[in-house]
Symmetry: C2
Subunit: 172 residues, 2 copies
């Protein structure tokens, strides 16, 4: 199995994972962050939606169409569409729709081994491969799943009492 | 909504979250850890199974039956039933069965506000409340969900190339 199929394994599961974790949860869990300047689970899902639209597939297309000659458009790390009270059900539906559409485009590209080795130009750190972009897409899902679980656990940082000491998730 | 129902919201979702994340994944994602002495996703699920059997409900019963007079039995932090190749499907089924059984017991206890304030004795740090134990059970789920996502992301620490710099999950 190559790295493309490994990446797709993660990418196709994330909408279902987020739905299992977040669907129907009370506001207590959905809109709490883990400190000033951090995101709530709703804001993280809103960020994943923006990335689906502006980051992964557009950058992959850029590599295939222009190689290193046209750098990727800059993408703000803190982009999210979710405001304070965006309903989670809407966010989960929109993310799933966006991801399904992205994977449909990816499959239609029918990338070969040599396509995966093609290179583009990242605006900050220069040459990257299509394969690295795809791996980052999957790792980014897992990174933000961790962030959601952190924001949720954080709501219980006092409720756990002395067990706080045993849960390094709650020590920051 | 009180803290008991908040905790139950998490507890009842975790088997489904883990199934969505881990079911059908290739061995590449399931049996890799994130460094010496750390756990793979399979080992984490094996740990959650042991906790279901020996930790949460037994300790809650101890509080309700003996209060502070009989300390909890010590529970090893590193207990897991999963060996190198335990099939994930078996682990997920066993965890779901165990969790469903635990929640059935919890609901049958029909805990009142004053039950949640009852206290027991933790072998390491002394007095704890039933409410703190329940909150820790939920936070522990989220803590280990984060750990699973870390172990998975870790398998891509090289594959992401220069994006490594942007994913603090991969910096340890």
């Amino acid at each position: 199995m190559n790295s493309l199929s490994h990446s797709v394994e993660i990418l196709e599961r994330t909408p279902h994972t987020l739905r299992a974790l977040l669907s129907g949860l009370s506001a207590f869990w959905i809109y709490g962050d883990y400190g000033p300047g951090t995101w709530s689970p709703a804001q993280v899902v809103g960020h994943l939606i923006v990335c689906e639209r502006d980051d992964w597939i557009p950058r992959l297309r850029r590599i295939l169409e222009h190689g290193e000659s046209v750098p990727f458009d800059p993408f703000p790390h803190d982009a999210t569409i979710a405001g304070a009270g965006t309903p989670m059900a809407e966010l989960l539906d929109e993310f799933e729709r966006s991801r399904v559409a992205s994977l449909r485009v990816l499959r239609a590209m029918n990338l070969s081994r040599s396509d995966l080795d093609r290179t583009g130009t990242h605006p900050a750190f220069g040459r990257v491969t299509a394969s690295q972009l795809l791996a980052t897409w999957a790792a980014h899902d897992l990174h933000h799943l961790r962030q959601i679980a952190l924001a949720m656990a954080w709501q219980y940082r006092d409720a756990v009492g002395p067990w706080h000491e045993y849960l390094n998730t709650l020590r920051r």
